[in-house]
């Protein structure tokens, strides 16, 4: 890139020099902050992504130094290269803000809005986008398109109703795994992500479609309904893996590893691993290594303060000393309540992390029996 000439581009009145051929989006990301347009389909780690969702629309108020005419329509910044002297308006343009509102409305037109049961809620790009740029109410009164939910392979749950057809997962399957077994079938309203004749996906890297999915269409079946993302604690960990970089993020509750994902960068894309390559992880790391002993834990993940995942996490807090015994000269306090004796949540007999799929009522029967036994013993 060094031999390419630098061009000057002004985005929201901030001027930056970037190599020729850079897209407006990437130039804006170099500035960072609110200037970078939101993206739903563009993924910098995947070739040929972008140009489908239209959320990154920007206004070009001056084409270039040579041809200063403004572009008549809003352009998709992920697909438009910068020109020397180009002036771009993103958040400073009322047109862009209105257009983005419309785009969000279109993306949500068939979205079921079942965030309360969706495992992606809390880390969902569409949720962030619609809260940040969308309207509060819906204007459509038509029935939303529905599909049967099904599982791709054993471990990936597909909710086609939530899909916004960004094609990221198709690109992952195309570029990461040499054999693509799923794609988009049918057209228009009926287009859906599907495996060809229900072929199961057994490639080592196919689990990464979960991480690239901007909505809850593709989710981890081993994490399904186990917990909300903001109640699990993210920690960075690594292990020696022959297939992938082995650098992951564990989502834990106590000592239980509920979910393993790739690490994310500030654009919510898969972060670059320490070896300089993109940190895709293999299915073995993602679905099978659900024990703390499998991993070397590096420390808690730094979570953005604005994210709901940072809720109720007291990073710098220290546990106060138990001083009652000391004050009472060695006499242990009576009538204290150990919440774990009474609470039915998080029973040690029911290890949610070791159940393959979502928990069902029969799993909880075991926990109930254990709890009742404990109560009986306690009352004797």
């Amino acid at each position: 890139m060094a031999d390419q000439p630098l061009v000057k581009v002004t985005i929201d009145n901030i001027t930056i020099e970037v190599p020729a051929g850079t897209t407006i989006l990437n130039a804006a990301r170099k500035i960072g902050g609110d200037v970078a347009p939101p993206t739903m389909c563009y993924y910098s780690k995947l070739e040929d992504s972008g140009g489908k969702c239209r959320t990154c629309l920007v206004e070009v108020s001056k084409g270039s130094d040579k041809d200063p005419r403004p572009m008549p329509k809003l352009v998709a910044s992920c697909r438009t290269a910068v020109m020397d002297g180009m002036e771009v308006k993103n958040i400073t343009s009322q047109r862009v803000i209105t257009a983005r509102k419309g785009v969000v409305e279109f993306l949500l037109i068939n979205h079921p809005l079942d965030c309360p049961i969706c495992d992606q809620a809390g880390e969902c790009d569409l949720q962030d986008l619609s809260y940040g740029h969308g309207e509060e109410g819906t204007r459509t009164e038509f029935r939303r398109r529905t599909f049967e939910k099904h599982t791709l392979g054993n471990q990936i749950q597909l909710h086609m109703t939530r899909c916004i057809l960004c094609y990221r997962c198709v690109l992952v399957a195309d570029q990461l795994t040499k054999t693509r077994q799923h794609g988009v079938l049918d057209r228009g309203d009926r287009a859906e992500i599907a495996t060809y004749i229900e072929k199961s996906l057994d490639n080592d890297f196919i689990g990464n479609v979960i991480d690239v999915c901007p909505v809850g269409a593709l989710t981890d079946r081993t994490f399904r309904f186990k917990n909300r993302v903001w109640f699990t604690k993210p920690v960075d960990a690594h292990r020696n893996c022959s297939k992938c970089c082995g650098e992951v993020r564990l989502w834990m509750r106590g000592d239980e590893v509920f979910r393993v994902t790739t690490r994310r960068d500030i654009w919510n894309e898969v972060a670059t691993a320490s070896d300089g390559k993109t940190g895709w992880i293999c299915n073995e790391c993602r679905f099978e290594k659900k024990k703390v002993s499998d991993w070397v834990i590096e420390g808690p993940t730094k979570v953005n303060r604005k994210s709901v995942i940072s809720a109720n996490k007291y990073v710098a807090a220290t546990k106060p000393d138990e001083f009652l015994e000391e004050v009472m000269k060695g006499v242990k306090p009576r009538f204290m309540l150990d919440i774990h004796n009474e609470s039915e949540v998080n029973e040690p007999e029911l290890r949610l992390d070791l159940i393959d799929g979502p928990a069902h009522s029969n799993d909880f029967k075991i926990a109930d029996e254990a709890h009742n036994k404990k109560l009986l013993n306690g009352s004797e």
């Binding site: 079942d114 965030c115 309360p116 049961i117 809620a121 399904r224 309904f225 186990k226 917990n227 909300r228 903001w230 109640f231 709901v308 809720a311 109720n312 009538f335 204290m336 309540l337 919440i339 004796n341 009474e342 609470s343 039915e344 949540v345 998080n346 949610l352 799929g357 979502p358 928990a359 069902h360 009522s361 029969n362 799993d363 909880f364 926990a367």
Partner: protein
């Protein structure tokens, strides 16, 4: 001297006369004040026979709601727990099995739901956060108990009676509510 109000009076240190020192007149004034209160409206309530009307925005013990078919509305989305400033609410979710459609409204439900009433501050944020109309703060107090463990309310303690399978209990609970409303 700086006075805070203009009602303050300097202490009168004059020697009292004989008539003043037997306090007859001052006692009489005091008794008149007492007597006046006999004929005033009483401010006390004869609890338990008589109860005070609650404010319409009173926030009492939580209930978990059911829909008109008796299915539990809660989907264990965790918004009440994350909104709870006292961190009193915990839950565990499960997937609905085929055949359980009459029990739970959606494919995901709360298998375990607990409110630690020792922690709860009755702020009502859980009710406000709930997207499914599943949790409400009712018009009754949380009952007192002798043991701390009795303050951990589980799902069975919180759920309202099922209108389909326990119509009598449901009607009773609803009736109580209407009686209370009429009293107001």
């Amino acid at each position: 001297m700086i006075t805070l109000t203009n009602r303050s009076k300097p202490v009168n240190r004059k020697k009292m006369t004989f008539l003043e020192s037997i306090y007859i007149w001052n006692t009489f004034i005091g008794m008149m004040i007492t007597l006046k209160h006999f004929f005033k409206k009483k401010v006390t309530y004869q609890y338990p026979e008589q109860t005070r009307p609650y404010s319409p925005v009173f926030r009492g013990v939580q209930i978990l709601n059911r829909d008109e078919e008796g299915r539990e509305r809660c989907t264990a989305c965790g918004l009440c727990a994350v909104a709870c400033p006292a961190e009193a609410i915990t839950m565990e979710a499960a997937e609905r099995l085929p055949g359980e459609e009459n029990l739970y409204r959606e494919e995901k439900y709360a298998a375990k739901y607990e409110i630690n009433m020792l922690r709860c501050i009755f702020c009502g944020f859980c009710e406000e956060a709930c997207p499914k109309d599943a949790i409400y703060l009712s018009e009754t107090h949380a009952p007192a108990a002798y043991n701390r463990k009795n303050f951990i309310y589980n799902k069975q303690d919180l759920l309202i009676p099922n209108p389909k399978t326990q119509p009598e209990e449901y009607a009773q609970a609803k009736g109580l509510r209407e009686i209370n409303k009429k009293k107001k």
